[in-house]
Assembly symmetry: C2
Homo-oligomer: 144 residues x 2
DNA sequence: TAAAACAAAATTGCATGCAATGAAATTGTG
DNA sequence: CACAATTTCATTGCATGCAATTTTGTTTTA
């Protein structure tokens, strides 16, 4: 009577392909991001900043599903590279505002090539990609 | 002409929901795995061992998409907890064989509850879950 | 208004992940 | 057979992730 363990198989839990896929895709980014001197997490942080120009740590954390324990050291590194500045909000000293610099904005030019370079190694049809995309956001929204 | 940056938006790249979803789901497991004194990575390692009883590090790495840099310290921890043993293969000393212990097998009893507990926080229909599942494995197989 | 409650970041400690390198054993080759 | 190439695992170094705690600042409340 092995049935009671059926759900415990690696192949029967959604979490595993999610986990594995996520890491494998991030790994695919590495050669492209290395050229920009960015890690994957730094890259998605810069994506937010390229769109918004400025954001505080709390909001950034909500965008990326990351907390200050991860973001604080990461943002210090981006600051050292000269791509962002970090300063306290004048009206509320608790809040740290991260601002894209001119150099940071320049990086966007080179980063603009990355999505196209990546897309060719995703072997799903546009419809499949769209479906996957919707399901992931549904999962992210409902459960997480 | 912002179009040239369209692909750079966080919401337009498959990688991001994958990455975020994976971490959020793993986080959901934490309270259940804490009860078993397992981390998520230790949990999926034990799942392989519960199915196979014995496996070497190379094959385990292929199953989990992890390398020895991650697995070696993790397996030492599982060994210290008494759930696995680690010994070299007699016919090839390079190979390290990981074997489930009696105690390790007992843990399966308690772990058998985990998938059911988790499933109720995944708000996708069975069809959607199946679709997501297939697409993830397709992506994992083709591209990764 | 003083103290308590709350909020936002920073810090700390631990466990991954992973690239790069090293060490030991095995295999292939001239 | 000797030795180079390969294979397998271990080690090292760095960058996350994240829970828990601390620090600093703001808001609420008695």
């Amino acid at each position: 009577m092995e049935d009671r363990y059926e759900g415990l198989k690696l192949g029967n839990q959604l979490c595993f392909p999610l986990y594995a896929c996520s890491r494998e895709i991030v790994k695919k980014y590495k050669p492209f991001l290395d050229e920009l001197d960015l890690t994957y997490t730094q890259y998605i942080t810069m994506m937010v900043l390229w769109e918004r120009g400025q954001i505080n740590v709390k909001e950034l954390g909500e965008c990326l599903y990351l907390d200050s324990g991860t973001l604080t050291p990461l943002l210090k590194k981006l600051e050292m590279k000269g791509w962002v500045t970090r300063q306290r909000a004048k009206d509320d000293e608790r809040v740290l505002i991260v601002t894209l610099t001119g150099e940071g904005r320049k990086l966007r030019e080179r980063a603009a090539e990355v999505p196209a370079k990546m897309s060719c190694c995703v072997k799903l049809s546009p419809e499949e990609t769209q479906t996957l995309y919707s399901l992931l956001y549904k999962l992210l929204g409902d459960c997480c």
